[in-house]
Amino acid sequence: MSATTIGTATDEAPPRATGLRWLGRQLLRQPQAQLGVTALLIIFVCAVIAPALVPYDPLQVDAIHRLLPPSAAHWFGTDELGRDLFSRVLTGTRYFALVCLVSVSISAGFGILLGLLAGAGAYWTDMAIMRVMDIVLAFPFILLILAVVAILGPSLWTAMIAVGIAGIPNYARLVRGQVLAVKHEDYVEAMRAIGAGPLRILFGTVFPNVISQIVVYTSFAMPVAVLSASALSFLGLGAQPPLPEWGAMVVGGRTFIRTSWWVVASPGLAIFLAVFSCNLLGNALRDVLDPRSAPK
């Protein structure tokens, strides 16, 4: 992945201890990043205050106003059960945020821990962890997710957990590689020399130095997680109706695509725009850390 190619020399090399702050400053100079961050902020704010914003109850069935095209009363139209699509799409931001938080936390949490253990631990710990990761990676993403869904049964939580588990090995690999790279740097040796314990070295010295890599990788992992979770919902293996999750909403509207395109269009565009914003941010992050690929 491109995450492995980043972190090369820049004209203004990041002072190690303030890597994240440096990254943030550089980032906000990029128009791509400004756009991405703004869009994501709006989505997350919507997710929090959605119940106060929606003009209609997103679950309220209204048999008389079925499949109405977009109008002043229903900005995005209504779906096959007469539910207001604008309210549903807006409420969907909550599930987008939830997927981002839950799936990525699972991948990053377990992945970072395993990666740190493998990179800093004994030979056999490293071997054992990485061989298990290899086996997980030997499953194509979708098959691994299928396996998890088969055990837990289809639901939004299953989809989020499955997507989270499938993302663990990449984090573990990334962190392990980074730990191995900084493990023998002088400042780590120095910590050891002044008598710091292994845990203090690992979490106090090594970990802060791999954070910026983790942040960049997360910006790529987030859109992948969102796309995967919504695809699972679309396949009927994730969020179940009547939950206003965007992927599940697209499935519902699929049957009416010939007559009522708006039922599919609004949730579909919502996913696209949300993922697009994540990718803009990811691109900008990569450009900051790897100027070779940045446009002139």
Partner: protein, 311 residues
Amino acid sequence: MLGYILRRLALTVPVIIGILLVTFVIKSLIPTDAVTAMFQGQVTEQEAKVAIDAMRHQFGLDQPWYIQFGHYVTGVVQGDFGTSVRTRRPVLDEIGFRYLNTLELTFAALLVALVVGVLSGIIAAYRRDSWMDVTATTVSLFGISMPAFFFGLLVIMVFSVWLKWLPVMPRGWTALLLPAATLGLIEAAPLARVTRSAMLEILGRDYMRAARAKGVPERALLFRHALPNALLAVATIVGLQIGHLIGGAFIIEVIFGWRGVGELAVRAIEWRDFAITQGIILIGSATFVTINLVIDVLYTWIDPRIDYSAG
């Protein structure tokens, strides 16, 4: 070379055993099995229990897990993947022709992705910062942000519903056209990005300047000097994309009614027919492992400098 391939094959053995074990462990963790799901709510409780017990016995579901695992592995080695509890046909028969359908779809899509992705990547890099580069880069950013299922529905909406060029469920060779193009274009986006950055790096090298200085025509410069060197990065990303491609194929199959493994997998989960799910996961992973092996071997062909004799 042969030694390398053999060593590489040996390395896949633990992975295959791991896959077998994982698929099996998953099975023993499943709360309801297919037999229970089949009879639930259909007959009285007493009758259901008798029928369930008889059927569980018939499929060996009442035996301890290690015996079941033993049976399973022996069966797999002999090409017996068990029987679908739902359709009562051998799993291999259920998967067989669908596997070929999925292969057909994925290879056609990969072809589309390679042609579109690599070509637009080359053009974007060669005409850096021109309108072509900006277009290609923007379109590929759109491409990686587009959910495959939404794009598939858009394609159906535009080509079948509005333009009426193709029926929604076409037959014959046109049946492959829309799904393969849809999946291929989605996968072309990351390829274009990687090709572009690989080409950009290579076009800036000294030997490219030297070649240009001695008067090598531009086309030869691009396709004979630069492209072969960029192919290594492309091969790597193709290897990584295969898993993604399979996932995309599942979605495209469902949207276009393409009778492939993905469509079956979705049904198998609904039916809780784990023999089929297990078979699909096993065959899919084995295929994935094989493809990655082939790509590793292809590396030596693309880049003869890679020396595998050291292991």
